[in-house]
Every structure is written in C-alpha cells, then in structure tokens.
C-alpha cells in the first residue's frame, strides 16, 4: 500500500502535466520528422576559384570540362591568375575553395613527377574538412582515371597496327619450321630473314603504352622486351640439318611460334577490353545482409527512443529525491513508518509506468507514421526499453542521493545526456573510440540499449546476454546503491 502510494503520487504528478507529456511524445517525433525532411544526403557542389598561370590558360577549357564531368561536385565559380585575389574571394564567402593548378601539369608528368593541385579552404568543421578532402581526392582520382583511359584508348588504336605484322610473323615462323623440318636450309634462311623483318617492324613501333598489354598477364615480360628477345632467339638459330631429321632449331621455332600466337591473343584481348575497365580493373559493391532496408531516419529512430527514455528517467529520478528533500518530505518520511524500499520501489513503479506511457506514444508514432522497421519481436523491443528505463532510473536516484540542489541534479542529468550523445554510438560509431574511452560508453545504459535496439529492430536478433547483464544487472546494482544512499539520507534527514 505504501509502495502504491508513492507510485500513484509520481504517476499523478506526471499525468497532471499534459503539456509535459505532449512535449515528451511529440517533441522527439517532430524533431525526427524535421530531420528526415530537411537532411540532404549529399552536400551541395563545392564552389571553387581556379588559380591558373597565364601560360596554362590554354588548359583552362580542358580543366573546366573535366571538373564539369565530376557529377557537379565541384563548380568553377571564377578563374584568376592571382592566388591572393582567389583567397580574397574565399574569405568573403563567395567561394568554398581555391584550386591552385600547378604550372605545366602535363610537362611535369612527362618529367616523371606528379603534378600537384592544391585545394585551399577555410572550413572549421572537422566533418566538413573531411568531406572537402574526400571530394578533392575523388575529383583528382576521377581526372587521373580519365587521363589514363584516354592514354589506353590511344594505345589500343596504336597496337591495332601490330596485328598484320604479328600474323605475318606467325606465318613466317610456321614456314621456317616447315623448312627446317624438311631440311631445306636455304628456305629456312629466307624465312628467318622475313620473320626478323616482321618482328623488327613491331619492335620499332611499340610504345610505352604497350606495357599495359603485358600487365594483363603477370607472368609475361613486357611486350617490347619480349619481341626483342624473340628476335635474338631467331637470330641465334642453328639452321644446319643432320640426315634430314628435324633439328633442335625446329623445336625452338615451334616454341617461338606459340609465343607469337600468345602475344597475338593477348594483344587482341587488350584491344577489345574497354579502357574504363583497364583503368579500374577491380571494382567493389556492398550489400546489406540484414532483413530490412534501413534509411537514415530509421537508423536514428532507436537512438531517439533510447536517448529520450534515458534522459527523462534520469531527470525524473534525479529531481525526485532532491525535491522531496527541499520540500521537507524526506524528514516526514524519516519519522513515518516507511523505509527506503517503499519510497524507491514506489517511485520506480510510478516513473516506469509514466515512461511507459511516453514510450508507447513515441513508439506508435515511429512505427506507424515513419514506418521504422521492426524485424525482431515486439517483446524484445519493449523489454529493452523497460530495462533501459529501470537502469536509467537507478542512475537518476544515485545522482539524486548525492547532489544537494535541483540545479545540481539538472546539471548532472545534462552531463549524462552529453556523454550519451558523444559516447553511446548515437552519432559516432563506438569503433571510432579508443578502447580505454569505450569504458565510458559501456557505463551508460543507453549504449547497451541502443546496440540491442538496433539489433532487434534491424537484424531481427533476440536480446543478447550482454544486454541482460548490463541493463538488468546494472539496474539491480544501482537500486542497491540508491537504497544504501537513501537510507543514510533518510536517517540523517
């Protein structure tokens, strides 16, 4: 009866504040709705000022064309020869970045060095800085790929000229072998001469781009060196015969024949593969194996539920005992036949029911209006929130037993809220925190609840043992601590 008296008092206290209830249910819902409606998945194009030296102005159109092809991630706002002028535009806020084009970039590359583009910006936000770095890297990678693809395309056109020579070389090699096998030394000499002429033609025309052909087959030497080696082996052939039987030279020519055929095949392959594939031969695709598709709003929904429940439970509990003390009620309770258990269990009961009403409203809105997925069981979904509420109430009661005033209680609740935003995995993944710092994360009830809620809602998983131990066991420990602290307080009231 005494426990129910406390529970009823706290519940009536909450229910008699309809505006508070409405704020707690509708507030987070509206915030999430606004976030979903207003969040831009991709940032707007970066407005850049190009700094190009006078002698490179002829490159400008080409650069602008290339930048224009980058999914509009960088838009050239203005072009100037003066870096100072560009920086002034940046400082005035009329541009997001200044791109300093290196002088004679192609000449630098031909000289064997990288042509370094410098991107200057004035963004303080570390996340935006990272975005700028990624955008710049993506832009330069894309431009590099385009340049390479163009080079390869040229290479493919040029190597097409080798085809007749390679065919002729292969035919000459066959004729050479036939002559050798027939023991016709004179014919063999003539065919060797023809074969050497064809290979020399290829050797003279081969370009550095042809090395890409070799890269298609890791075991092969580069094409030009391969052709040179073939020529050397053909020149070294001993064309003399013994008793009209095939010599070792014929065997060697058979090998050469096969190598020419192989070279012919590889070249054909090189010419038929798209340049884009050759530039980026490896690609990656990611696939989510969870049973539901999770949007950004869905992803943050468990965090909003958990954060709200934890914060209101901690605040209610933290304020509760302080308020009783400042009111003088603790002194009355100390004289009345009620113990810390009556007070605490009653308050746990009242606040849990109150938080349950709020959670029911918020969950209904999120699951029906936002259609946030719930792949797991409703029982697990509710149980996690119940455990979170109990653990958070425990934190609140411990705070309430330690602090002396309302202000201290509110400040302590705010500090837990801040800790929760940064360390619970609400915004930042826990993997990004040092293991030592993660201790703080795991001390917060929300960390366990959030992890478990996401598992239940998006993966359809059951509540894991760690959550039971952390939230369930934690609740019991916090209750025991609150009870001890309260007994001391009530005794000293």
């Amino acid at each position: 009866m005494k426990v129910v008296a406390f529970a009823r008092k706290e519940l009536v206290d909450i229910v008699r504040q309809p505006r508070l209830l409405l704020t707690l249910i509708l507030g987070p819902f509206l915030i999430l709705a606004l976030f979903a409606a207003g969040y831009q998945r991709s940032a707007g194009a970066m407005r850049a000022v190009l700094v190009v030296s006078e002698q490179d102005m002829k490159l400008l159109n080409e650069l602008e064309d290339r930048l224009a092809e980058l999914n509009r991630s960088i838009v050239v706002q203005e072009t100037t020869e003066s870096q100072e002028e560009a920086l002034e535009i940046l400082r005035r806020g009329n541009a997001d970045a200044v791109v300093v084009v290196p002088p004679d970039p192609y000449g630098t590359v031909r000289g064997g060095d990288q042509a370094l583009f410098v991107l200057l910006h004035d963004t303080q936000d570390p996340f935006e800085q990272a975005t700028i770095r990624l955008t710049a890297r993506a832009a330069i990678d894309e431009m590099n790929r385009e340049l390479l693809a163009e080079a390869i395309s040229t290479g493919q056109r040029e190597t097409a000229d080798f085809n007749p020579f390679l065919t002729a070389s292969r035919e000459s090699a066959v004729a050479l072998r036939t002559a050798l096998e027939a023991g016709d030394t004179a014919a063999a000499e003539a065919e060797r001469s023809v074969l050497e002429t064809h290979l020399a033609s290829i050797d003279e025309q081969i370009t550095p781009a042809d090395s890409l052909v070799a890269a298609l087959d890791g075991d092969r030497p580069e094409s030009n060196r391969q052709v040179t080696a073939l020529r050397q082996r053909i020149a070294a052939l001993d064309l003399s015969t013994t008793d009209g039987t095939p010599t070792s030279a014929a065997q060697e020519v058979r090998t050469i024949e096969a190598e020419i055929e192989d070279l012919e095949s590889t070249l054909s392959q090189f010419q038929t593969i798209a340049p884009d594939v050759l530039v980026s031969p490896l690609a990656v695709d990611t696939e989510l194996i969870s049973p539901v598709e999770v949007t950004l709003t869905d992803f943050y929904a468990p965090g909003v539920i958990a954060l709200l429940l934890q914060h209101l439970a901690i605040t209610f509990a933290a304020m509760s005992l302080v308020r009783e003390r400042s009111l003088g009620a603790t002194e009355v309770f100390g004289i009345a036949p009620v113990g810390p258990s009556h007070i605490l269990i009653g308050k746990y009961l009242g606040y849990t029911i109150g938080a349950g009403v709020i959670a029911l409203g918020l969950n209904t809105l999120l699951l029906t209006v936002f259609e946030v997925p719930l792949a797991g069981s409703m029982a697990a979904f509710v149980t996690i929130q119940l455990l979170l509420t109990l653990a958070s109430l425990g934190v609140g009661f411990v705070i309430s037993s330690i602090v002396s005033t309302d202000h201290q209680a509110v400040n302590a609740a705010m500090i837990v809220l801040l800790l929760s935003i940064f360390f619970s995995g609400f915004f930042l993944s826990l993997d990004r925190l040092l293991p030592e710092v993660r201790v703080v994360s795991w001390m917060l009830p929300i960390t366990h609840a959030l992890d478990s809620l996401r598992d239940v809602m998006f993966r359809g998983a059951p509540i894991d043992l760690r959550t039971w131990i952390a939230l369930g066991g934690g609740s019991l420990v916090l209750y025991a601590v609150s009870w001890l602290l309260m007994r001391r307080r009530v005794g000293a009231a």
Partner: protein
C-alpha cells in the same frame, strides 16, 4: 528576577527516576511522560543549536514551545522526532530513542514541519490520501479520516483543487490535516498556526484541546506568544537554552517574581503608605504607576488581595480598584527572555573580570 546561571527552576529529572520512567514508558505505562529529555544537546559546527535541554512532557497534555526566531525551536523538534541525533544527552519519545523508533511508534507519531510538505500537482484530497497511505491506512479508513480532516481544517469545499490553487493559509491547514489524518497519539507541530487567521486559529486550538482530552500528547511550537494560554505547560527557549518550563500561570509568576496586583486609590499615594503596603503583603516589588496607582508583586494574589483591602479600609484609605493583573503573555515572554539575556551577560562579564 535576575538569573545568575541557567534557571534552576527548570524541572530536572533525576537519573534513577528518569531511567525508571523510560523503562515504564517502553511497556506502555499510561501515566509516564510522553517526552523525556535529559541534558539533550544538539550543537552544530557553528556552536548554535540546543544546549542541555531537560524536559518531561506528560502524556495527554499540550506542551507549548515558545521562543524568538532562531532560538532553537525547530532544532529541538527535529531532535525529538529523530530527524537529527543529539550530540549529547538522552531523549525518549513514547519510551524510545527517536533515532531508533520502531514501526509501531512511528505509526503513533504525527509531525508537521515548519514548511508545508505538500505536492503541488496533487489535489487536496490526493495529498491527504498519500499521507494516509504512508501509515498503511485502509481505503475505507482513509476516506473517513480524510473527510473528517477536510471539515476540521475547513477545506471540504476545496478537496479537488490542486495545491497550487490554494492560498498560504489553506496550505498550512492542509499540511496540518495531512499530519493528523492517521490519528497519531504523539503530535509534533512546528508553528501550525502561522499564517492562519485568528478565527480559524481559535478553532484549531479548540481542536488541539479536544485531542489532548482524548489522551493525545501535543508538542507545539509557536511564535504567537498568546497561544501559551491554551497549553498545559509552556517551555520558553532562548539562544538554544530552555529558560522556562511552567504552566501558563507559573510562567507569569516566573517572569515577574509572583502575582501582580493593581491597586488604585481614591487619594494620592504617600511614601509611608507604599512602604506599609509592601511590608503588609511581603511584596517582592511595589512600584507606583501613577499618582494613585500601585503595582504590587505578591506571592499569591488570591491571599494578598483580601488582606490588603481589609487593612486599607481599617486605615481609612478608600480603594477605587484592587485586582489581580494578568499581564499579556507577550510581556511575560519578553520579560523572561530579557532577564535571561541580562543574567547570562552579567555572568559572562563577571567571569571575564575574574579571569582578568
């Protein structure tokens, strides 16, 4: 009356007797004091608090505890209710040390702190229900007691109002109702009538008297000195020390050294006549207050008055008026406190002189 040391006429309960009383009370002896304090002190770090309080409040009586603001009234009440532990001495209430009241004793105590302990968002009726529930009262009993209390404190028409909608006086009355709703046997009320209009105050005191007549014990602190008249015994506290513990009449005598008689003659007073009157009634003080008026402090007015009027008639002195003067308790209180302070100042000055 001058004090050279803390008043000696404060009743001191002797060790053996005190031990006996405590033992008897534990077994529920009906005639033993409900409250016993022997040299009970609660001294805070600043040196303030209550010092060496000796007290014996009989069961079924009203004990008024009067003192200026900051004198230690609330500290004394908190010590008696177990909210704070004495730093020295011994306190028992209903036969038990307050810091270790058992469940049964707690159920028999009602405590109304100086500040109203009420929940703003709860209605008048809900507040009463909550406090009744703390004492494990059944729903039916709560309902009956709640209605009775609401009528008693004149809040029957406001039962559904929230506390935020009540005036200061109404809150005080509700707080009193919350203290009494479980029908306690031992009641501590810390300034229950503060902020309550005189008509209702009178009603409350009538009700306190009724409760006393039912055998309950009331320990009431008040700043309304006049309310001392309603009490069976009155304790006066100043600077943390209990300087008087008397019946209301005894308090008057203690303040002025005896009963006061006002004598108004038809003729002017002469020095010889004043001396003769003083000698006749063995007056402790005899002071003219006008040409024909004389204030005489005597041992007992009821005996001295007939003796005086008879003698004056035999002397041919016409008496316009002769009556016992009942000084208001405000004067009694001021007199007691001032005399105590003067005495303690004298004592400390003398002490300094000796040391010097």
């Amino acid at each position: 009356m001058r004090f050279t040391e803390p008043p000696r006429w404060v009743p001191v309960v002797h060790d053996q007797r005190g031990a006996f009383l405590i033992e008897q009370q534990r077994h529920g002896h009906p005639n033993e004091p409900a409250i016993n304090a022997r040299r009970a002190s609660k001294v805070f770090a600043t040196g303030d608090g209550v010092h060496d309080m000796d007290l014996a409040v009989p069961s079924g009586s009203i004990f008024g505890f009067i003192g200026p603001s900051g004198a230690g009234k609330t500290t004394a009440v908190r010590m008696l209710t177990g909210a704070i532990e004495p730093t020295d001495g011994q306190v028992t209430v209903l036969g038990q040390a307050p810091t270790s009241f058992d469940h049964r004793t707690r159920s028999q105590i009602g405590y109304m702190p100086q500040l109203s302990v009420l929940y703003d968002n709860l209605s008048v009726a809900d507040n009463l229900k909550f406090f009744a529930s703390l004492y494990g009262m059944t729903r039916r009993r709560t309902e009956a007691a709640r209605n009775e209390m609401l009528e008693f404190v004149d809040l029957g028409d406001h039962r559904d109002k929230r506390v935020t909608e009540l005036s200061g006086g109404m809150r005080r009355r509700l707080s009193l109702a919350a203290t009494l709703v479980h029908e306690p046997r031992m009641i501590f009320l810390d300034e229950p009538t503060a902020g309550i209009d005189p008509v209702l105050r009178r009603r409350l005191w009538d009700h306190f008297t009724e409760m006393r007549d039912e055998g309950r014990t009331l320990f009431i602190t008040t700043q309304y000195v006049g309310e001392a008249a309603y009490c069976d015994r009155v304790g006066v506290i100043a600077d943390g020390r209990l300087i008087a513990d008397e019946t209301p009449d005894g308090l008057r005598r203690a303040a002025f050294g005896g009963d006061i008689v006002h004598l108004e003659l038809e003729q002017p007073l002469s020095t010889d006549l004043i001396r003769d009157i003083s000698n006749l009634v063995s007056a402790t003080a005899c002071q003219p207050y006008s040409m024909r008026g004389l204030r005489i402090v005597v041992e007992e007015a009821a005996l001295s008055l007939p003796e005086l009027t008879t003698w004056l008639a035999s002397q041919g002195v016409s008496v316009a008026q002769a009556e016992e003067h009942m000084p208001p308790f405000d004067d009694v209180f001021v007199e007691l406190v001032e005399e105590y302070r003067a005495a303690t100042t004298d004592t400390s000055t003398e002490g300094e002189r000796v040391v010097a």
